[in-house]
Symmetry: C2
Subunit: 451 residues, 2 copies
């Protein structure tokens, strides 16, 4: 049995929907379908999720949001019309949209989460309508009926363990496809809470684990996961097979094809993931598998990273005489709920590397002030133009010379590498470089290992 | 004005003492002398400090220690005799030794500290006696008279800031050398507390700063600080000039010529340090200077490290989603007062590197148990055969290709480098390797940069 998740661009309009429908039709093993919200149909288009955010904000501002409802409904209606579905058969979608503001929400955040979730929720309903219209028996299963229970923040929820007990009770029948909305679950109190953005991937993985799928097919708009960003490297090699932990490292470091947190249920259930292109379902795509029994065929699997980082450098003489020095720094970061990426530490020096997205408002100044007051470093410097380059590969583990080859390739191009972090994970090396060198660095490392 | 500190081997017997005396005599600028305790005269000999520890243990065990006193006194007496000092003129040394057990000590640790400190204290007295006997006007100045105030542990004290106010009141006269004992100070309550082992270097640096010396001459038993350990690399290059922070990095990583903590007062007072050989005072030795205005003439200054490390590896999926994950690990380490050397961290992985000397008793098991209980990692592994290689040089900063050159040299010898830590300090790179590769690694990096 296969769980198939379709991304937003794969369900953006009737034509794309048709690809998805054909994919579902073509394999009777594809019995569990997970929908995203309709994405952009063309450059400059608005995703349905963003329309729903507008709708929520209108309601929160005391407006009626009628025109936005019309705009949202038109998106679903157009897809239905593409398949010849009668307007009366999709009318319920409009009614649900109009009823949304009338429900009770414990807070504005929960209202926002519920509105956003309807991009997926209504698309799953529509998919069931379309499939049944085309003679393919299908049933919409809401996240509540499925028993997807979540806890945590309304916009960054975590799946609760009981979800898997609930999913175990779902009966699959050979003659019926089940259509689940991605992206959200219900709190124990019955409120909708969403996963992080891109969270339909997470729902798919949860279902794949909970329903014991043989494979989790993740249909998106690229032929495969590539060894490097195609915006930087021309025609990069597709990755045929990679391990869960390679995917995890790469997706943390900027590979956005698969939602980062979607891997955990797949790992726990040991369900392999097949990333495929909705437009070219005949291509093999990328298979993500367990590292147990995996034999790497190349040294490097992928090159990730990004130019959006910053570093805080701190020097204090005899810092390492105090056991609690780094601890005090971490406590300051925790007080500000500030997540960091890496923290290379030396005898008297610490560098803390942040994703710039984490550095909102004047948090850098605040943290610097507190470090100054509590730790009194001899030097405290902030670097705003940091890029991180992460090179990942199961083939690196225990193999001498890989770091040397990467650094030599960069040195040949005169790229200075102020930071190297290797050793936590055996299958990756993380380099800090100047933002201006980032694209060149990705290119030369790619050239070195893939040409 | 120069502050001259003589190490234990430089004052081990009459012949070595004579070198020191000649050094003092030959330069009228050498007006402040700091003594260590007499060291080993030959392989298999016992240092006076170790005899004093034996003496203290005998007293603590309720014995009288008379034979050990005779043995200790014989060492000082023999040096006096070498210069023709009459026995009655050194008799006070024996009296002081015999009086030691009769004093009050707040604890066994303070008794031990006071006994140990007398290796230096009596040697400073003897030096004053010898110099005066030879017609060189000299005066013994006890740490109490000098006002060296310390706080902290009795065997690992820290100098108090008021010391520098006290030292500022000392008047130096052109016609008189002042002889200070190294290694210890007095607590505010009047008890002797020592610095860490090798702490005479610290006293010398404190005096050099407090008395505004032009240079702090540190006389020891090597011609210079070498770019690599002579026990591993044959005839390594002497380092002519290096910066304080290079010395700090190298001494933290195993260069034992200069006591690690001795650098701080020198840096604070901006007093350059000249490490010289008592046996060859004509050689220039190694000059350690401020990094301000320093222009490196080579890429690498020194290669340090050692084979005595261990690593704890921890993997927990989605570890980085929690801000406080590393914090919890550090709290566990702090609870056990366990100092670590480095902690490379990745997305879901942390490696913590310890000096094995820190891992006493069953502390590793205890820490692992607590990490298991509090953090529940997916993997927790301990590696006992870790070596650290540290390559240091002001010439590395901002220079592309240095890491590449180091790693390529190692790769050529098929040495696998599981850990690389670069970026906290700009002037060093730290590599983790297998213990078995350590000597070879030092040799090939040395060959690469110094041949």
């Amino acid at each position: 049995m296969k769980v198939c998740k379709f991304g937003g661009s794969s369900l953006a309009d009737g034509k794309n929907y048709e690809h998805a429908v054909n994919i579902i039709k073509s394999d009777p093993e594809r019995r569990v379908i997970v929908t995203s919200a309709p994405g952009k149909r063309h450059n400059g288009d608005i995703k349905v999720t963003d329309l729903l955010i507008k709708y929520a904000n209108a309601i929160l501002a005391g407006q009626d949001g009628q025109t936005i409802v019309d705009e949202i409904f038109a998106r679903y209606q157009a897809i239905g019309a593409y398949f010849g579905v009668l307007e009366k058969d999709v009318e319920e979608i409009k009614e649900i949209l109009l009823a949304l503001p009338k429900k009770d929400y414990p807070s504005a955040d929960y209202l926002m989460a519920a509105f956003k979730a309807h991009g997926e929720r209504l698309n799953a309903r529509l998919m069931a309508i379309v499939l049944n219209h085309l003679g393919i028996k299908a049933r919409f299963v809401d996240a509540k009926e499925a028993g997807i229970v979540v806890t945590g923040r309304p916009d960054d929820a975590t799946v609760a363990a009981e979800t898997y007990d609930n999913l175990a009770r779902i009966k699959l029948r050979d003659d019926e496809r089940l259509i689940f909305p991605g992206f959200f679950g219900y709190t124990p109190a019955g409120n909708i809470a969403t996963f992080a953005r891109g969270g339909s991937d997470i729902t798919g993985a949860i279902l794949a684990r909970g329903l014991h799928a043989d494979v989790y097919e993740n249909f998106t708009d690229v032929d495969a996961i590539f060894a490097a960003n195609p915006a930087i490297v021309k025609d990069p090699a597709p990755i045929k097979t990679m391990t869960f932990r390679e995917m995890r490292e790469l997706s943390s470091a900027g590979f956005s094809v698969l939602q980062n947190e979607a891997l955990l249920p797949a790992i726990q259930g040991n369900v392999k993931i097949n990333v495929k292109n909705t437009a070219h379902p005949d291509l093999p795509g990328t298979m993500v598998v367990s590292e147990n029994g995996f034999h790497p065929t190349s040294t490097i699997t992928g090159i990730a990273g990004g130019p959006n980082f910053a570093a805080l450098y701190l020097h204090k003489y005899l810092q390492n005489k105090e056991v609690g020095s780094t601890l005090r720094i971490l406590n300051i970061l925790k007080r500000h709920n500030l997540r960091y990426e890496h923290m290379p530490s030396g005898i008297d020096d610490v560098t803390i590397i942040f994703n710039k997205d984490e550095l909102q408002g004047d948090v850098v100044d605040q943290v610097c002030n507190e470090i100054q007051a509590e730790i009194q470093p001899d030097r405290l410097e902030f670097y705003g133009n940091y890029a991180l380059l992460e090179v990942v590969g199961e083939g690196m583990a225990e193999k001498p010379g890989v770091s040397a080859a990467i650094l030599s390739a960069l040195a040949k191009e005169n790229i200075y590498v102020p930071m190297i972090n290797k050793g936590a994970s055996k299958i990756s090396i993380m380099l800090g470089i100047n933002k201006k060198d980032f694209n060149k660095a990705v290119q030369v490392v790619y050239q070195r290992f893939f040409k």
